[in-house]
Structure formats: C-alpha cells, structure tokens
C-alpha cells in the first residue's frame, strides 16, 4: 500500500467471521486466506470473509507478518555480515538488507559502522522469492535510518485500524500528540516527538491493537487523546 488509507472499503455488514475449514459459497476467484478442496473454497484462517472485486478473500484477524513487495516497514538490525545486514521485520524469518540496496558506500566488512545491531530503519520490501525468503531496500522513496523516537510493535492485521478510514485515525493521533509517526505494514510503528507525547501515542496504538474488534473503540481513543 503506497498511500495511507484503509482498504476495508466493503461495508461492515458484509463482514462475516469465519473459522478454518468453513465452506465459502462464492462464484468469485479464490484470493487469500483460503484453500480449495473438491472444487470448493474453504477458509484457512480465523478471519472476516470478504467477497469483492471478483475475489473471495478471508482477512485474517490474527497472525504474523507476511512480506509483500512494495510494503513499507520498520526493520531492526539483528546481525551484521561483511556485505549484508540481517533484519528483524516481524516475519517468520529475518530479512536481508544488501549493501547495494542501502544507498551507502559500504567498504567490505565495514557494515556495522553504518547500521549496527539494534538500529532501526524505515525501508521497503523489494524482493520476495518463491521459497519465501525476502530482501528489503533503503533506496526507495523516503526510506532512511531512524535516529530518534521509539518503536512500538503491534499485530500486523490491526494496522488498517490504526490507519483508519482515509487515514482518519492516524491523523487524529498525530495531530493530538504532535508526533511524527511511520506505520510499517509489518506492525512495527515508529513514533517521534516529546517523551510524554510519544507515550500517549503509544498508548493509543496499543489500545487499538488490544481492542480492535470491540465496539466504541473510536470514542475511547478520542477520550484518551483529549487528556
């Protein structure tokens, strides 16, 4: 997703909770979160079924991050090699940042001088291969090393809720707390500003992550941000 907007454009009333194995009556093509058996389509994850644009999808409510090319993410360095960095992006496996995708002139073996263990970056997933291994890049758009603020981790499936319809939720959080926020599709969120403002923004995001499915959440967040 290049711009910030929630892709939950289907109406709330069409969302139905489905469990793994549930049969999905549909003429649409099979999308994500599903599997086929005997020519029929079944849900494979706990989630909300969504039949739109000719595709039958099940949007998982829980679960880890599956990298997709083009995703903007916040990554943390966990290991430095002579020509690469190994990065935690919250997926099943760590990702790789190759020196040629860093935008820096990195002498062989000198990687730690540019990015060391524990450092964080705003990056883009630029390659995912058939075996599931993936690479990220610092050379796209506004990708860069992050020097201040903090990182909050939340469930990637709740990221659309933090963004809100047309970005309404995240805009409200940013404005009310006077913070800069970068939302990684992987559920890693960077927040920068004054210490206590960061804490408020963090609290709001954690509340959304914990209560994403409950009613009246928007009002609760409004109350929290007014304080």
């Amino acid at each position: 997703m290049g711009k910030e907007s929630s892709d939950k454009s289907d109406s709330v009333s069409s969302r139905k909770l489905v469990l793994p194995g549930d049969l999905l009556e549909t003429k649409s093509k099979p999308g994500r979160g599903i599997f086929r058996r005997d020519g029929r389509v079944h849900a494979s994850v706990l989630g909300y079924s969504s039949d739109q644009s000719g595709y039958m999808n099940v949007n998982a409510i829980t679960g880890g991050y599956t990298p997709k090319v083009g995703d903007k993410i916040v990554a943390i360095c966990v290991e430095t090699g002579p020509s690469v960095w190994r990065m935690d992006i919250g997926a099943s496996f760590n990702s790789t940042l190759h020196h040629s995708e860093s935008g820096w002139k990195v002498p062989f073996g000198d990687t730690a001088r540019f990015l060391t263990i524990g450092d964080a970056i705003w990056a883009e997933v630029f390659m995912v291969d058939a075996a599931g291994s993936h690479q990220i890049s610092l050379k796209k758009d506004d990708c860069r090393k992050l020097y201040s603020g903090t990182i909050v981790k939340m469930g990637p499936t709740n990221v659309p809720r933090v963004i809100g319809k047309q970005g309404s939720m995240i805009t409200a959080i940013r404005e009310k707390t006077q913070t800069r926020i970068l939302i990684g599709q992987n559920g890693h969120i960077w927040i920068d500003g004054k210490g206590s403002d960061i804490a408020t923004a963090q609290k709001a995001i954690e509340m959304i992550d914990n209560e994403a499915n409950s009613k009246g959440l928007t009002k609760k967040i409004e109350k929290l941000l007014e304080k």
Partner: protein, 262 residues
C-alpha cells in the same frame, strides 16, 4: 509482545522517560502494575494460587508429601521450590532441562520464603527424627510479561496461605489443618535503566535494563532476602534508596495478599 529484538531507539526513549520519573506504559518509576490474585482453584493440589502482575501470569501449586527430616533438624519439616518456564509463556523458553534463569528464579523465591521463616517448620513434624511433611512449591510460569521474581514470590505466598496439610489422605490424623504460616514475605524487583532505577519492570524494560535488584521484606519492615542479577551495576546509593522504596511500595502487594486471606 515479547521483545527479543529490542531497538536502540526504544532503549533511549525508555531511559529519557525514566529520567522524568515516567514509564512507557504510563506508570511512575516506583509503581507496581495491576495485581490480581485468585486462590484454591486446583483440586489436586494442597494449596494453589494464580497471580497476574500486569501481563505476567504465574500459577503456583503446593503439594505436601511425607518425607524424612534433615539430620541437623530432626523436628522440622522441609521445603523445595521449583520453577517451570513453560514454553507457552515466552518464545525464548525452549523445552528442555532447567536453565540458569529458572534455577536462579527458584532459589531466590525459595530463599525469600525459607529465610523469612514463613512456614512454621516445627509445625510440620509428624514423628520426631522419623517423619515430617515436605512442602513442594511448584511455580508454573504461564505468561512472561516481565518481573517473574515478584510474581512468583507472591504466587508462592498466596498458595501457601490457602494450603491445608493432607492429614486425612495420608492417614496422619482425622482432620486436615491449615499449613502453619508465620509471616508474609513480599519481594520488590528493580531494574537499572540508564541512570534511573525502576520498580516492577515489564519484559520490554527487562530487554533494555542493565542490572536487576530484588529485595524481600516481611510485614515488620525487616529484610529477609536480596539478590542482584544481570551484568550491570547499581551505585551504593541506588541500592539503599531501592530498599527504602521497597518498604514504601510493597504495601500494594501486601494488601492484595491480605485481600485473599478472607
């Protein structure tokens, strides 16, 4: 969320918040998280308690079996503490033999209870020099949200407080009686975060702090056990201050414990 890979940014943010006396979850630096205690839920144990301290959840079961006394204390019962870091509590808890972490935890909790004479060991004698009760304190960590030390000590104290000696089942007497308890040790654990000292660290804070200090007091304000852990250091002043803070702050846990004694 368990934080195996902590960013340096988070460390810096938490350290600067702590300088202002604040924490990432909105607490003050000397504040405990919310604590709830439930007791007596296990039918197979002689005593049991479940303690939630923030997100940390520990279940404690007390089993009592007949054993032989130690040579140097023929009229006293015995006790043994063990801790299970259940793999479901933390992604880094691998199944397998007890690690150093689990052993340190068991021994610190054990000392807090043993050295405070919480259990009246003389009251556990069945036949002088021959038969005594052995109290097994088994702590089962179900969710590691940080500060296992205080949660475990509290769970053990709560479980012991509702434990009954199984006289009837073992043919020792015709009535089960309460396990004799004489005092209530409460532990407080601190972490060194940059230049600040914080009480009751969360697992995120444990990921960035450099040293840990646990101190247990009884209800009279006397120290019963202490342990400094991890490879950083506290200043002499910080230790003295922490001990004072512990006495001032542990009433929250003490009240919760009193609450379940009903």
């Amino acid at each position: 969320m368990s934080n195996d890979n902590v960013s340096n940014l988070m460390k810096g943010h938490m350290e600067s918040l702590a300088k202002e006396g604040k924490r990432a979850d909105g607490r003050g630096i000397n504040e405990f998280r919310k604590v709830t205690i439930e007791t007596g839920m296990l039918n197979t144990a002689e005593g049991s308690a479940m303690v939630h301290l923030g997100n940390t959840k520990v279940l404690c079961g007390i089993k009592m079996l007949i054993g032989t006394p130690y040579g140097d204390s023929p009229g006293s019962g015995t006790m043994m503490t063990s801790t299970e870091l259940a793999p479901l509590a933390d992604q880094s808890f691998d199944p397998g033999p007890p690690r150093e972490q689990s052993i340190e935890l068991s021994r610190v909790v054990d000392r807090g209870i043993r050295e405070s004479r919480m259990i009246d060991f003389e009251g556990l004698c069945i036949e002088h020099g021959e038969k005594v009760w052995t109290v097994f304190i088994d702590l089962h960590i179900l969710d590691n949200g940080g500060n296992l030390f205080d949660c475990c000590t509290l769970a053990a104290a709560a479980a012991l407080s509702n434990a009954k000696i199984p006289n009837v089942q073992h043919g020792v007497a015709d009535k089960d009686v309460d396990l004799p308890v004489t005092c209530w040790p409460i532990s407080c654990t601190f972490g060194k975060l940059g230049d600040s000292v914080i009480l009751d660290p969360t697992s995120d804070e444990e990921g960035v702090m450099s040293a840990r200090f646990t101190v247990a007091h009884d209800e009279n304000g006397n120290l019963r056990a202490a342990q400094k852990g991890m490879n950083g250091a506290f200043t002499d002043a910080e230790i003295r201050e922490a001990v004072k803070t512990a006495r001032a702050s542990d009433n929250v846990l003490r009240e919760a414990l009193k609450g379940i004694q009903g």
